[in-house]
Symmetry: C4
Subunit: 338 residues, 4 copies
């Protein structure tokens, strides 16, 4: 929870250290203010927790206690059918790795079953890398373009990692938006495909989750002056299209159709590398498959992704850790919620 | 060991906690009762062990002491020929992962040699994933349909993981049932193939092991009203066909031709994911190859599979653990029997 | 060191335990006596070490102190050219795993460079599994048959794992025996190829190393009545052909042209699995490349192979450990020699 | 820091131990003197640190304190665009492993994005081995020869590992030297290609980094009488061509255009194996991508490479450690700089 009292015009000093009282203020969470903040220190001034709790705000932090409330244990008698069947549509020639990362993250976040729809050139790569995933291949060698059979049987579709923006791939996304009634998780080139046919934003299944970084966001919703405006636009678009927007940044913001904004407080600069976003797509897709609500899945997924990244950075250094290592350290992140 | 005094008509309360005296009762082990049981507590009321031991029951728990009696150490002077040569028939296009999981589990459970018969599309995948396995490929690119050469030389055949139910594959199973005289281990689509030509149940080699989950069981033996009826049917069919039925569930039941039923007491909901069953097939096939009797192999295999899963869940969380991790933690499971 | 005073005619009792004074006797080391020995106990009767040391015997144990005398540290200023360039000729369709295991073992035992000559079907498998190895492919898709270019530039050739016994492959071995002047390490199907053209035994380069198990030995040198006769034959053939014979068994015997026999004292029944022999081939080939004499390489290689296996069994259990795990635990074996 | 007072004519004694006062002298760092030095001991004679610090020398040791001054933490608000996009041009038929090793090392050293340009035969291998890398393939099946699209968009190009010296590949390097304006990192066959068209040395982009071992150096710059002459030549060529020369040896020397020479003090003989150089190429390329100056990247890269190798040797032994293990232990090397 935090209170926004600052205004953008105050940007003057490039501080080495910034002290703030009790809780985060909005500008301290926005990427473009980074040069003016330096190292941030929260000073406890003894405000009563009940007072803070009673403040009515539409912004909040995603922290451990919030996430523990969302997290559910697996029922001991459950079988794989209880944890959903996710479909992942990903990859193109030279970018099958994005599909592998998203698929591994999905499998390692608890989904019951995962089927991957890939271009033919991804067949052996995925089957070698991840025996737990089933694979369907497109009729195309290098791109995905063909509507998979029986898409209605899947609990959720994750689409985007490494797919490129070929016309045929754009058409595929258009088909899916029209045929699939459960939430989509759209990332990366999936978002870029949407940017090229913006009318599809209206056709996204209710409570679909979009996970743009700032550039992808601006391609989708027009250029934004600054992070404040971008956040305002996200709130508006989230409400208009009834979607959840995960605006990726150092403090990733999850924006819901009801106008709530949640800032994530896990993660580190070691995740600023190719593949981290693919991993997030896989985690969120997996959580939706397990019947978390899309809002819960976005909050829990973003938090766990960052926390696993923090464990990885701690063990391996920010320089050395890779997107694969985020997946490896998901176990520590999940265990911390028990 | 347990005593069944409850009856199905008592299902009323959806308890958060259930207390029971001294030992499990049958209804407490059945999946469909899960909503009414909640968390189960066994209360020790001080019954004399000798009394319990002397009760004549046809049902028992698979627990550590029982499994230690079955488990055999490897003779120090033994060579690989002493531990059998398993044949695994598995995989189809997009489902080679199932073959890889079963093969890895087989190799990591002690078999002397393993040959995999795969569709051509699985060749590089298996050879890359598991150098310890030898590979034969079918004349078909995407399915298995061709009777492997010299099948009589193998100690056991495991068949089913990921094979699909193409007509040609069904024919292959029919050939094998007629030609192979040693036990088969049949799982997954292998069972579905049997469901489509039920006369083959009569032709299964003596003491073959079938490992259906409830839906596969019903496809094989007709719809069952409930878990009690399913168990009764399993006992009858096991006796009629002289086969061992491993009815997979939270407490997997191993049913033998002599009418004994053993309930397994290891495993967890983290195993409720695609691939777990393929791993079990590999373990049991491996144990039969090592000259455990099929009944012993089923008991020991089911127990070790669940125990490895428990070690995996403990180390990695139920959410994050995968079928591959069950294989990784087989070492801890086997070491616990030493 | 040990003294052979027992005779074969004494085999009567199938003992559970056998007590022997001070040191091993020959019959206690031979596989076929295993049923009569049970668990073996060496009783220290206080013989003076100098006395034992002064006994003139042509048999000895390969133990830690002997191996430490052979083992050399790497010179700090050395470069990769100082550690040789090994050539491995291995694999056929469905048995590329044998090539992978031998190659990994070679790389993980210290050779400077490794080139693998494989059938075309092994190309991607090896390059994916082991980036440290260079690969040449045969003109054949499924077998090796073509003499590699410039074979004289290699320090040693390891040949045999998984190559099959096709006529063309037999011819290749014949070519190599005639062209290559430095030692060969011949295993598995390489030995079976020799068995089919026994005149090649005369043409083996001096101090080549053959690593047969008893069946392969008998195919090469004729049926043997028992382990005593097999050992006598090995001594004779080793001398006649000026080769080193590694007769694999629980206590593997290394027989040298000068008539010495060394019995290995490491290893366990968890190594009685497909692939263990391929790993040994890789280790010995690597040691010869590093300029150990063939006799030293055989002693050191057999010892390290068994010791790594013992570490693997201890960590993973005899059932679960695989040939790959022997390679993984080579590090502990080498570290124990420091 | 060290002072060179010795002269080459003193080489007489092949010492087991050499004692020297306070700091290294040049001849003690040169490979060809190794037989005369034996084990080296630095004796502290109490020279005042300020005195040493004030000596004006053009040679220095790369040690922990120097490297910590170069090393930069990652800005917490950074995104992947801040860490550059490296292009790696590597591999040919049978030597795709060199590309995999360089690519893995690059990814594990902190670059934001990596694209690999490979011959077609490397496609599946790289995508299977390293999902974090994007892949472009050449129009050639077995070599790289085609200028990648949009090379100007990359922050740095690493070229050489495993590429061979085909004429077409030589032409590619020629094109790149003319078109690319930012630094190249050239290694292995990349250097051999330069040797065959020495006029390209003049066309290397400013501050390109060349990483020859002594033989590759001599092919580039003519035969050298000894290490002293080689070092003198390196200083001259570095200045003339405005490039950084990393002369690989036990104490690798980094020579800069301004005439400074830095001797590295990490590393061990376990790195004297195929693939170690490819790993170094990947690390340095990654550091340049992250906006370290080429001189800093060379110093930091050589130091971390050797330090990771030392951690690997300590954990696995010099014999068993591989080039891949250097990458695995990069995490410990980077963590030591925190």
């Amino acid at each position: 929870m935090f209170i926004d009292k600052s205004s953008k015009e105050n940007k003057v000093v490039e501080a080495d250290h910034t002290l703030t009282f009790q809780c985060y203020k909005l500008p301290l969470l926005l990427q473009e203010n980074a040069p003016f903040i330096g190292e941030l220190h929260l000073l406890d001034i003894g405000l009563h927790p009940a007072f803070l709790h009673n403040q009515s705000v539409d912004m909040a932090l995603v922290d451990h206690s919030r996430v523990r409330q969302i997290f559910r244990r697996r029922n001991v008698f459950a079988h794989k059918g209880n944890f959903g069947h996710a479909l992942l549509i990903a990859g193109s020639y030279g970018k099958i790795g994005a599909a592998v990362l998203a698929a591994k993250a999905c499998i390692h976040s608890g989904a019951g079953l995962l089927t991957c729809h890939l271009p033919k050139c991804g067949y052996e790569i995925m089957q070698t890398a991840l025996p737990e995933a089933m694979v369907m291949t497109d009729e195309n060698e290098t791109i995905v373009a063909q509507l998979p059979n029986e898409i209605e049987k899947y609990s959720v579709i994750g689409i985007g990692p490494g797919i490129g923006t070929a016309n045929e791939t754009q058409n595929l996304i258009s088909f899916i938006c029209r045929r699939f009634k459960k939430p989509l998780v759209v990332d990366a080139d999936g978002l870029n495909c949407l940017s090229q046919q913006k009318d599809l934003l209206q056709r996204l299944p209710p409570l679909s989750i979009l996970t743009p970084h700032p550039k992808e966001f601006d391609r989708l919703f027009g250029d934004q002056q600054n992070d404040f405006e971008r956040l305002a636009t996200a709130k508006q678009k989230s409400s208009v299209h009834n979607i959840i927007i995960v605006l990726k940044s150092h403090h990733t913001a999850i924006v819901t159709p009801s106008g709530d904004v949640f800032f994530n407080n896990t993660g580190n600069a070691g995740m600023a590398k190719g593949g981290s976003g693919d991993v997030l797509t896989g985690i969120i897709t997996s959580l939706v498959a397990q019947n978390y609500s899309p809002e819960q899945a976005a909050l829990l997924g973003v938090y766990l992704h960052g926390l696993a990244g923090d464990f990885a950075a701690n063990a391996l250094s920010e320089q050395v850790m890779t997107a694969t290592d985020i997946i490896v350290f998901l176990s520590q992140a999940f265990l911390s919620l028990k």
